[in-house]
Point group: C2
Chain length 332, copies 2
């Protein structure tokens, strides 16, 4: 296992210690495994919390910040935080106007966040709602889209929901807007090499020396096909074709696109991909607004990339462009 | 070669096409292999140019932007741009107040940038000066520091020189400040795996399955020792010890620190490293200002990290904190 770490059992704790020390203007750790804003919750504003397993930085905790999330619960690598940690994150996000739970559609996270919602309802009288990200189009068919896993699209939902909450909209309105953003996202990934969970010490899957897998999930969940590595343009064409089959775009439509590295894939290759993505939407006549190219949702040192589209109407575009800041993404 | 690309011969061209398409607010490509600000040079301001081989994004071209560089020449992967491309970059940076050439100390780059300086002097009557980054403490002894290679420290020099130029200081003053910033930087790297130059198609060096190399250069230049991978804290301790031996820090000193991934090493591991870096300077009583943790100077998908320190006085700190923006680093 070629990683720069100490005892694998201390991986998450030491990572969080460095994370908070490096960015004290954005992040505080008021309780173990809970990241919140250093200034605390904003009174009268709907709080937004997320949470999930570690190993995906900047997701999830990195998106705590003004115009984004208010707090986040942090699990072990690729494992759900506990319900107690999630309840604690909700309490730290609560400014008296209710709290939206906004996170990816994974069984353990859903179970624990539901339980956390019951806990804060009973113990703290905090009203909560839920919006699940389910943007990975490969993980289930269009007819059962509610079974899809949440991947990089969540960062658009964080941004848009955060901007809506900043207007002091009420919980129902923030929930509606977050759901609308989540519904507008489509993602697909491809992988070239696995990553290693520190406490396991070995790769979570294997790919042959010249093999790629189309549609693979961020934890190594099986994709659509596994075959010899193809040229970048061919890979991007298939990813865009699959997105368009699920959510068509037409001339005059507006969207944002995220070309995201799963970790090891360098910026150079992401730009080669984005070049083709841009050509595809230029051909359609759809306009890309605020494209994002970089590492926004990763799986540690996994090699591969995801493409996410979000269809924008006037409302979503306005919230996407509203000012926001965290250590990894600043708008305005 | 597991890379997402088309024809390796088109790697740099396609990368630049995507790079400019993704960030049109920061970058334009007025001529092949020249990145400049879309609004052109700023009249009356000293221009700052850099340049070097591709494969290090965001270095070099990514640091073109307000408060940073004005233009940049882009070579093939790990290869110097031509003198003609560098001369063109200088012309695009020229706002009538002279141009500083600010780049890393590599033979090919020095030869071509010197030639470029002569070309623009003769052909365009543009006065130029040079400041070389030579921050890699492992690449030559303290007694021949002028032979050292330039690595991640250059981003501090870009930032500080850019802020000085923004004050409309003259070329001699911008050159003095850039040299002072360059002289204040110390860097050291370590590597776990190599990267692959697309047109070569194979790794530029080999490391055993559980091996690391201390002091390795960003192109795979040999380091100090190669041995079994050590725990993160031990690695960081040795890197900091070596930096301190070259440039001591004392109680009350102020510095910035960059913990930089060479590409594949994820943020999680950088934060584990930063945690230890912070402890070391806390122990000394030196204050870290504006720490940077992330991918600021890479070698594509190389696994490993570098640590850079820059000793700050009031002047350097002021310029470091002045507003600046590019697609990868925003201040103020």
């Amino acid at each position: 296992m070629k990683k720069i770490l100490n005892n694998p059992a201390d991986y998450v704790e030491e990572m969080l210690e460095g994370f908070v020390a490096a960015h004290p203007e954005f992040y505080a750790q008021p309780e173990r495994r809970v990241i919140a804003r250093p200034e605390g919750a904003t009174s009268g504003k709907v709080g937004i919390v997320s949470g999930g397993g570690s190993g995906h930085l900047p997701v999830f905790a990195g998106y705590v910040g003004p115009g984004f999330l208010d707090a986040c619960a942090v699990g072990d690598v690729f494992a759900s935080p506990s319900a107690e940690q999630m309840a604690s994150a909700i309490r730290h996000a609560d400014g008296g106007a209710g709290v939206l739970r906004l996170y990816g559609n994974y069984g353990g996270d859903v179970m624990n966040f539901d339980m956390a919602g019951e806990m804060v309802d009973m113990e703290n009288d905090i009203r909560t709602t839920t919006v699940l990200l389910a943007d990975d189009i490969v993980s289930a068919g269009k007819d059962e889209a509610e079974k899809r896993r949440g991947v990089a699209g969540m960062i658009y939902a964080f941004k848009i929901a955060g901007a809506c909450a900043d207007t002091k909209a009420d919980l129902d309105e923030v929930t509606r807007v977050a759901q609308k953003a989540a519904d507008a996202c489509r993602s697909i990934g491809m992988a070239l090499t696995p990553c290693i969970v520190p406490q396991a010490g070995k790769a979570n899957f294997e790919l042959g020396e010249n093999e790629m897998e189309m549609g693979m999930g961020i934890h190594g969940e099986p994709g659509i096909w596994r075959d010899a590595l193809r040229p970048a343009d061919q890979i991007v064409d298939e990813m865009i074709d699959r997105i368009l089959a699920d959510h068509p775009f037409s001339k005059g439509d507006r969207l944002s696109v995220l070309v995201n590295s799963l970790g090891a894939t360098p910026l150079e290759e992401l730009y080669i991909m984005y070049r083709k993505v841009k050509q595809r939407f230029d051909d359609i006549g759809a306009e890309i607004v605020m494209p994002l190219v970089g590492r926004y949702a990763t799986s540690m040192e996994m090699t591969g990339a995801t493409i996410t589209t979000i269809a924008l109407d006037e409302e979503l575009e306005r919230y996407l462009k509203a000012p926001a800041a965290c250590a990894y993404w600043r708008v305005g």
